[in-house]
């Protein structure tokens, strides 16, 4: 952000998500939106996270529960297909894992430093007791 003086910004503890007028924003995908530099869309808060969700598409049934429940809109879903996680904004809360209904789960929490391949390789088998 430019180093503006005290008299050079709009009053109020207020930031605009977009610089100009927007139209049909609900029908526009995040990556196609013209966010302002003040929007947190381009800011990474990945370093807030201690543990991370890993997505295993082999078991996903595209129920969209994770997408609905994620408090930070960090589940990326396109045409009702789960395609991944926005790791710049995910805080590692684990709610997506909690609500995942598959057996085994399609999302599991791993330490932040765990490689994705190793995480997928260690995925648990189906729990037959359920």
């Amino acid at each position: 952000m430019a180093k503006k003086g005290w008299d050079e910004f709009e009053i109020g503890a207020m930031l605009r998500s977009f610089d100009g007028k927007i139209d049909d924003i609900a029908g526009t995908r995040q990556e196609d939106r013209d966010y302002s530099e003040n929007s947190s869309y381009t800011a990474s808060v990945a370093d807030w996270r201690l543990i991370k969700p890993v997505f295993n598409k082999d078991y996903c049934i595209d129920c969209q529960f994770c997408w609905v429940y994620c408090p930070d809109v960090s589940i990326i879903s396109r045409d009702k297909k789960m395609i991944g996680i926005d790791m710049d904004h995910c805080k590692g809360c684990g709610i997506c894992v909690e609500v995942c209904p598959t057996n085994p789960k399609s999302l599991l929490m791993f330490p932040e430093q765990e490689e994705e391949e190793a995480a997928i390789a260690s995925w648990p088998a189906k729990n037959e007791e359920k």
Binding site: W6, I11, G12, M14, R16, S17, I22
Partner: protein, 407 residues
């Protein structure tokens, strides 16, 4: 319009609370979020009654505390509504955290504060402890001395507060019980005239403008916080008083009633002068006239706008006075009183030879009697005659027991 208008007589017999409630009705407040507390309760009760009787198109939000009441007001104001509420004393104290949010977010909320003492000991009567508690919160603070003022100054508050050059919340103060529960003749404005004076609410950065999404109440650290606070202080120091004067001028043209940022009574040739707030101004005015009949050239200054403090106007009003008394109706608790300090600050570094002494009075609703003020004016005259302050700089008036004074 979907609501009914009310026929008012030219003069109605209203107490300060009902006068304020009528002003809220005539301004057509969109949202009142309130947690009623004595002695301000009838203001929000009045709004709720007018709302349920279809005299207002708005929303009354019942909440679980004063903190929530102001939070609700902040949300509604950020959404883009005309918003007001009322409180007193302990409720005001609980609101303090959110008062700073409202002013920092530059939301034009109007808060009617019916001044009351702060516990402990618990007390429901009027003094200025709550008003003084709010004086660093970044709000505009305007003081009513009687029910007529409480009515009129609400219109002024909305007009100034909502101006896009200002966008700062405003408190309208009146004295608990002395003003809030004492019925007097109040000259009214018709609904249309009153509403047109305040005008339609003009939203700014409102959250309900879906074509321009905004995030309100953001966080800034050492990188931006100081600039925001500097901007807020700058606008309070440079923009608010001219806008209030403009509103006073417009209001005088409309109603014939003249308000001043600093109210001066017989100060032009005065030797001695009392500076005070609230209903005490009227008492002091009456005694000053009686002192003049006895040969003491007495004047009174009432501070109409407490924040931003009108340094220039106070300086002009007091520069030729020989002995000044600053009357504070709040315990300074370890310092000189607020008015003593602000007046000293205004006059210091000027050519004035004025003597300044401070008095603390009226805590918890203790009366300031005419006899107190007669003695006080005589002390001021003694200062003039001696050419120096002959009393301690801080004296308590009307407290039982041995005379209490400091400094």
């Amino acid at each position: 319009m979907a609501f009914d208008k009310m026929e008012l007589k030219d003069i109605e017999v209203w107490d300060g609370n009902f006068a304020a409630a009528q002003a809220l009705r005539q301004c057509q407040i969109d949202v009142v979020a309130a947690y009623p507390i004595t002695p301000s309760t009838p203001i929000v009760e009045g709004y709720a009654k007018f709302l349920s009787d279809n005299y207002i198109e708005g929303e009354f939000v019942m909440v679980e505390s004063e903190h929530a009441a102001m939070s609700g007001c902040i949300g509604a104001a950020a959404a883009g509504g005309r918003v007001a509420t009322a409180t007193s004393s302990q409720g005001f104290a609980l609101m303090v955290e959110t008062l700073y949010q409202a002013s920092g977010m530059r939301l034009p909320i109007v808060l009617n504060v019916v001044n009351r003492a702060l516990a402990s000991p618990l007390n429901v009567n009027g003094d200025h402890s709550d008003m003084y508690l709010g004086r660093d919160s970044g709000w505009i603070q305007i003081d009513a001395y009687c029910p007529q003022d409480a009515y009129d100054l609400n219109f002024i508050a909305f007009k100034v507060s909502e101006d896009h050059d200002i966008r700062l919340p405003a408190m309208v103060h009146q004295d608990g019980f002395m003003t809030s529960h004492t019925a007097q003749g109040v000259h009214t404005l018709s609904d249309d005239v009153a509403y047109n004076f305040v005008g339609n609410y003009k939203p700014m950065n409102d959250m309900l403008d879906f074509e321009h999404p905004v995030t309100h109440g953001v966080q800034t650290e050492e990188d931006w916080h100081f600039e925001h606070k500097a901007r807020q202080h700058n606008d309070l120091m440079t923009k608010v008083l001219p806008k209030i004067q403009e509103a006073f001028d417009d209001f005088e043209k409309l109603s014939g009633r003249k308000y001043n940022i600093v109210e001066e009574y017989d100060t032009k040739d005065a030797d001695v002068c009392v500076v005070c707030l609230g209903s005490s101004v009227e008492t002091a005015r009456e005694v000053a006239l009686e002192m003049r009949a006895k040969g003491i050239k007495a004047g009174v200054v009432g501070i109409r706008v407490i924040r931003p403090f009108p340094f220039e106007q106070v300086r002009d009003a007091l520069k030729d006075i020989k002995s000044i008394a600053a009357l504070d109706r709040s315990s300074p608790n370890g310092a000189a009183g607020m008015l003593f300090n602000e007046i000293a600050g205004a006059l210091f570094n000027t050519d004035t030879k004025a003597l300044l002494s401070g008095y603390v009075y009226g805590l918890g609703g203790r009366d300031l009697t005419k006899a107190h003020l007669v003695d006080l004016f005589k002390e001021l005259q003694a200062n003039v005659d001696a050419g120096k302050v002959t009393t301690p700089l801080q004296q308590f008036i009307g407290v039982r027991g041995p005379k209490l004074s400091y400094l």
